[in-house]
Symmetry: C2
Subunit: 417 residues, 2 copies
Amino acid sequence: MDLPYTRIKGGVCAAREFLGSAISCGIKNPKSDRLDLSLIYSKIGCLSAGMFTQNRVKAAPVRVSQSHLRAESLRAIITNSGNANACTGPTGMQDAKNMAKETSKLLGLRQREVGVCSTGVIGLPMPMIRIEPKYEGLVAGLGPKNGNDVARSIITSDTHEKEFAISFELHGKRVRIGGCAKGAGMINPNMATMLCFITTDANIGKRGLKEAIENSVENTFNRITIDGDTSTNDSVIVLANGAAENKTIRRGTKECRDFSHALEFVMNKLAKSIVRDGERVTKFVTLEVKSARNASDAKKVAQAVANSSLVKSSWNGEDPNWGRIIHAVGYSGASIREEFVDIYYESKAACKGGLQAKTNPEVLRNIVSKPAFKITIDLGIGDANHRIYSSDLSPEYVDFNRSEYAYWKQAKKDGLV
Amino acid sequence: MDLPYTRIKGGVCAAREFLGSAISCGIKNPKSDRLDLSLIYSKIGCLSAGMFTQNRVKAAPVRVSQSHLRAESLRAIITNSGNANACTGPTGMQDAKNMAKETSKLLGLRQREVGVCSTGVIGLPMPMIRIEPKYEGLVAGLGPKNGNDVARSIITSDTHEKEFAISFELHGKRVRIGGCAKGAGMINPNMATMLCFITTDANIGKRGLKEAIENSVENTFNRITIDGDTSTNDSVIVLANGAAENKTIRRGTKECRDFSHALEFVMNKLAKSIVRDGERVTKFVTLEVKSARNASDAKKVAQAVANSSLVKSSWNGEDPNWGRIIHAVGYSGASIREEFVDIYYESKAACKGGLQAKTNPEVLRNIVSKPAFKITIDLGIGDANHRIYSSDLSPEYVDFNRSEYAYWKQAKKDGLV
């Protein structure tokens, strides 16, 4: 899959005719100048598609972006980090709409052409007083080399920005796809607590773009988990402006499949980088479930194992504890036969037919002592498979997530609550 | 509910004609003399009923006890801790059967009158070489005052034994119910990783006893969670020997309901003591979900909130973070309307109609700083309720559960793997 793609510099501004801008307004921390407001903009008209959290509690910007995407194609996305604008009621909706409105005025677009995203603490009113004075500077700062600033501005508890871009041949033209993402906590299959913005200069039809994003998200962002929590703000948005001047890609063609694979390739890089940078994560674990009775069972097993506190704690302890893995297989709800279950750490058997295998435990221990390893669970009763990228659970994760109280105290000081 | 019951001394030997015994055979730790093998025995014939884990991976002793209970009534239960005898294949089944067989011979019972329970590490062969020499001493040690020894012998990562007993009037006779339990980790609604043995001298019919245990478990052990992991060994067994000489309690009568309430009262005390003594737990949280559309939704919401790593981390941090609670409500799968959700810490509103309430955050913070508190989630769209007893997630829990490797090393030294 790597072969036809050339990795290129940059992220969300790597495709032609896309500009970015990021600025600090003090939402993350009034006392520091961390970037926390950003803008992505296509100089020329473009098509868009998006996928959003399946949490029934949806942040205001998610509702606004969904409605704008239904009505029209987006050409710009404004994003703040530090406050999720979730559980903020009609005021939060108005705040999200105003962010789109003010940006659209300055860019000469219709309000519905601007998407809005937010990430951060849930339940606090938006500090609009910090955002409003910054719109003009944000738009004035737009440039083709600011993709990295955008990537840095959207991160919260991530330790570093995540961006990736490629180019490849399509219909004899060189097409670019690039993007950035943030994650770190509240990460679960079914759209993690994450934002991902992808731009491409491919010329692609609306239906082809929609299909490509749906398939790609299913195989990438829906297959990662850090803590099993699904957030209120997850958003993946793709903008395609056609600047590569390839013949329009139509749904169902070979070119559409090629484009979809390339999109999935970019998303997969970003998804895996989210897990690697999970909150206080020390292990990157590829979990492969094989030979399940059906696809739904394969997924249930992968999710139960990947989200078990006890399994994840043992990964943190570098303990090849297959007993805990099979116990999670057992309560996953999938149809299984204990006596057919094999469990491998890389290529070494830890469990054969539901029993301790002959492999020396020290060999298994050496595998789980590595920063990244693969565990295969072969259920031996069918032909359905499922893969998830997961991580360990560390004492430091819990410690890190003990309190967001500082945000509430600051909000009180600001007169917001 | 407290009123008609008198708390009495003791636990699993508090009811008349029940004897207990416990001994150390070095399964927990060959170098220490911690009690790890126990026996409960009724001097006279009795009826029994049991409920077991819903994990599809069932430990050998669970299978053996289930089969003995179907065939006949139990009169004795032998239990070891330190090894779960789970994922041990035909050898494990033979080991569990032998434990029943050897005990039954010494007690002059049929093999099927002896239940078997195990708790401890999954996947390691049973160290029968340590258990076999101990049967005679175990039976010889039976006495009416050894209930506390039994309670201590079944605990693993628990910090203390859990026992409780009451007496009450029924049909003009004084009836006793007492028991002991162990828990601590792998605790989830749907039978926690726990063992619970209850004895009663009530004279009750088989069908009445079955109904009473089913109702009581549903309202007690199925409503606690520590880490959301469901174990392979969960067992609740009740023995009733009729020594109180009350008129036989028949299913469907007022007396049967009274007995059932008393049994539930005892189980509730034991269930709550399991949560309070959860692995490295610092908070006991009563989670009350109200006004859900239906019972299934109420349960989904309670379980999602009670098992969210982020919610539990915030409880550990004494942070009244209702934003994380409503986010778990949103992904629970239940039908909810964000704008109708109220969240209370004790009687103080943190969230009203999906929004930050007016209560001073410091007031809420004082509540979650207590070792035990209640959170009520009022969904405002129906009349179904569900209650769960839960706990926080501490950095120390993860640290405690990082490795069971010492057990595997010992097993290797013993030639078991």
